[in-house]
Symmetry: C2
Subunit: 146 residues, 2 copies
DNA sequence: CTTGAAGCTATAGTTGCTAGAGACATTAGG
DNA sequence: CCTAATGTCTCTAGCAACTATAGCTTCAAG
């Protein structure tokens, strides 16, 4: 049995994140030691690795919740799992498409900036006037956070 | 002078978003009508368009705050604006790189799924075992929200 | 003059965590 | 066996960038 710290280390997940996953019901409530500390089995470690891996692939926690409950029923059809993965793939593809358009526009801006005064700055000018753009980067649909 | 609704319509920004921008100091406090409703000048409209456009290009509100204050000082050097745009370009490029790796892995998963039972599902299997992956899609660095 | 749309403020919710406070548990060294 | 350092506990609040709700006031059209 692993303590939460060891588990986090093994799975590459921070300790508060594990507690958070338990809190939102993505991980089952852990067993506790005599002193009320969480203890994890190998099975729990596998489940956390699954979550971590799916997160790395960009699945939302909601999608992961569904995937986990599917993986708990091994004799059902995998159509649902397939659909979730395909949806994620489509999402990733559309993000790439959008980001590629942004990249083109940003490159244009940066290249055209001659490095003079703000008044002549192409960056500022283009931002102020969308009609100076070549591509249609309207409709965000999903943007990234840091 | 435009009401907040007209302004939002003109700039493609939702009304609560405009109030939010004012609240965080990205837009100056609007003038008010006799009945306490916000009124906007053409200048304000331009500023909002600038913000909207920069958001469309993926700049954070913090970066936009800086860009706006730069654009208010037209005789300064545009090096700072250039740097912000270049940083944004780098950010976009690294996101594209990461998403492209994810896309490859998701495609592999989806293609290999034969559509049988969960027990044989490649999607579930790969998620449970990172060593089945070809690419190294570790280290998220920044993931997207919806 | 009345009705319905649009505006106001204030608060809480979204996603996926992360950070902090203050208290208890465990472990290693002396 | 005692102490100090680390680990863990709960709880709350914060991050980005909005969005949604509630309960009110104001405005424009008929």
């Amino acid at each position: 049995m692993l303590t939460i710290g060891k588990l986090g280390e093994a799975a590459g997940v921070k300790v508060p994140t594990i507690r958070y996953y338990e809190q939102i019901g993505l991980l089952p409530e852990a067993e506790r030691s005599a002193g009320n500390q969480r203890l994890y089995s190998r099975k729990a470690q596998g489940r956390l690795a699954f979550i971590r891996h799916a997160r790395d692939l960009g699945f939302t926690l909601e999608a992961i919740r569904d995937l986990l409950s599917l993986s708990d029923r091994p004799d059902q059809s995998c159509a649902a799992a397939d659909a979730i993965a395909k949806a994620q793939l489509a999402e990733v593809e559309s993000r790439i498409a959008r980001l590629t358009a942004l990249k083109a526009e940003l490159e244009r801006m940066v290249v055209q900036c001659a490095g003079g005064k703000i008044a002549d700055c192409r960056v500022i000018e283009v931002l102020g006037d969308h009609s100076l753009c070549e591509t249609n980067h309207r409709h965000p649909e999903t943007e990234a956070t840091h």
